[in-house]
Symmetry: D2
Subunit: 216 residues, 4 copies
């Protein structure tokens, strides 16, 4: 597969590059603050950069008319609306987290929300490496979105932690929690590769990583 990466010099950009190379895929386009590199037209475009880069990525996607994966976190509602607009022209994946485990945590959260008594307290928490700029993490926001009300969320920044997420439910007698821990960024790169293989076969439309996992 010929692919392009917006944000190639970031942590996730590098992780994607390593894994895709290992699997025989070819980087033919990249963009970062140092400039553009273009060797060929990519079959898929992957954005792991910053929210302020969105306009640039939208332009590239429209110009090249290639399926695009948005993995950047911290987008505003307005920006998310623009990504949805794009998906009417080309196939788009937008997700805050590309791990299987997180998708299972989300499904489990939905089940517990429906089955636990309503008076239980809920707490969401996440820990990430010191380089992560947004807080709470996009994934923590996705977990909170399962609920119709606001859920108290705490964030820690610690060393080089790849990403921990936790949801806790507590009554006067007991605490039940579901916890996820990414062992390395590679697990996310694998989810991106899975998404890339899926999206290059679609026509148009907006897909989440959960759609990809459960549709395949």
């Amino acid at each position: 597969m010929k692919y392009g990466v917006i944000g190639i010099n970031g942590r996730m950009g590098q992780e994607i590059y390593e894994l895709f190379k290992e699997k025989g895929h070819q980087l033919v386009f990249s963009y970062d603050k140092d400039g553009e590199y273009k060797e060929d037209k990519p079959e898929v475009l992957i954005d792991f950069s910053l929210p302020e880069v969105l306009e640039t990525t939208l332009e590239y996607a429209r110009e090249m008319q290639v399926p695009t994966i948005f993995g950047t976190t911290g987008y505003s509602d307005q920006q998310l609306a623009k990504i949805e607009d794009l998906s009417k022209q080309i196939p788009v994946v937008q997700a805050y987290n590309f791990s299987i485990g997180i998708q299972m945590l989300l499904k489990t959260t939905e089940f517990l929300k429906d089955n636990l008594p309503e008076d239980w307290d809920i707490e969401i928490s996440e820990t990430h490496h010191r380089f992560k700029k947004d807080r709470p993490s996009g994934t923590a926001i996705t977990i909170a979105d399962v609920f119709d009300r606001e859920i108290h969320t705490t964030s820690k920044r610690l060393g080089n932690v790849a990403g921990d997420h936790s949801i806790e439910f507590g009554s006067l007698g007991e605490v039940l929690s579901v916890n996820h821990r990414a062992l390395s960024r590679r697990t996310f790169a694998e989810g991106v590769l899975k998404s890339a293989k899926f999206i290059i076969q679609q026509k148009t439309g907006l897909y989440s990583f959960q759609d990809i996992l459960f549709q395949e």
Copy 2:
């Protein structure tokens, strides 16, 4: 409600006594190694003792013909068969854990077993107070029973911990876990009270605590 307790002087016996008294129920029968106390015929019999007391409890249950709740852990398969036999004559609840959270942990475990890739490793672990004699706990055994294969299980005994249980699933990229922590034994006594109210209205049959939670 008039009730009786086998193992009244144990930790759970005392916890049940406190809660039932608070809720206006009346202890009319008890049995412990110090002997028998009988004031009246109970409407329900509750056993939180030791496996070696089973024969005595079976005798009492048959003699009085009252619904019986077995909360003791560590029974052998043969002993469990005897309890099942009893349930053909009178209504019986047999469960290793009387908390809502543990039932949710079990349901979640079933979901994850069905949806995670089969090559993920699984570990079950439990921690209880230093006075707990059996290991692994009955609840840990119930969690392991969700699977068709043997699951590695570890047990810790620490101070006065009311009861922690955890199941972890791990791949090369991530770890997902579900954890339960009982904050006090009172949470179990509440499950026993719920079970007592349920069982005195049944004819015959063998019920788990899960049956009671999801049938009510």
Copy 3:
């Protein structure tokens, strides 16, 4: 010992009452929003109430001239200064946490602060029952005070959790953490009893619980 409690109807007030009764001590004075109860002059006064009650407690302590233990959390610097003033007249204990384990966590934190490389990140976190009004907890503040700089601190409120505290140190390669979990409020009541026995033998002065643990 004849003792008095300010805040007798609170969670800690009740816990202290239960333990002290069990150990043969006699409640002869109490104060709560419902009013005052006085049977005799106490040998020691114990305050587990709210910061706004401080003036009342100071008045009682001065009037009766009895050793006083302040276990209330959420005091302002100005209020702490008033407690220090009082200690020039009578013996005073002021502490945010009356458990041995927390004192060990504090000592350990000091050791790690002195021995870990300075570029490690630090996070403090605490979880308490839904009824706790101040955040972060007084104990979390005490842990943070070990450092010369501000430490990021997160707070959760969950069911009936008696009190969890954690300090984490993280580098690019590893995370080291020290965690404390109170199994019940009784452990704090035991620390208060230890403090009461100590303080009734002192002349004047301001003592922390750490002083009591390591001086005895």
Copy 4:
């Protein structure tokens, strides 16, 4: 630095190779089950292999007369005695864990052992990747060795976990624990590099990683 590795194809062998290359050091000798590679005489020999390879490593070390680092786990007492013998001829480092955090956990364990009441329960636990063959881990054994009595230890094997260790102390009222989590094997490789730089400047003698950390 010119260095050699016994067990070059193992997980730690590869990690060491990557880091040392990045830092400008040169692999001039290696040995693995596929055979020997020799380009030049190394200044230091590093063994991360299996206990059954010890005799081969001892031979190489004696023949080349170079400082040697033993990071392999699972050695018997008899094998450890042979390593000590070797250290009378050449400088030797033998350690089960090359992370700063673990050394701090050990120091903290010693402090808590000396200062907590003797009737507290103690539990040690560790989790490692599914490929780790020995259990409990060498590090867990080192933690247990702090005590004069046997400490109950539990081991889990889960996905690709780089290495978690925990020691818990519990009384009837509270639980205090110290936890370490390696974020990647690179943290150990960094400890090995630190040790290599240290040992090439020594004459003879047996050093632990703790010696190196606190002597430097």
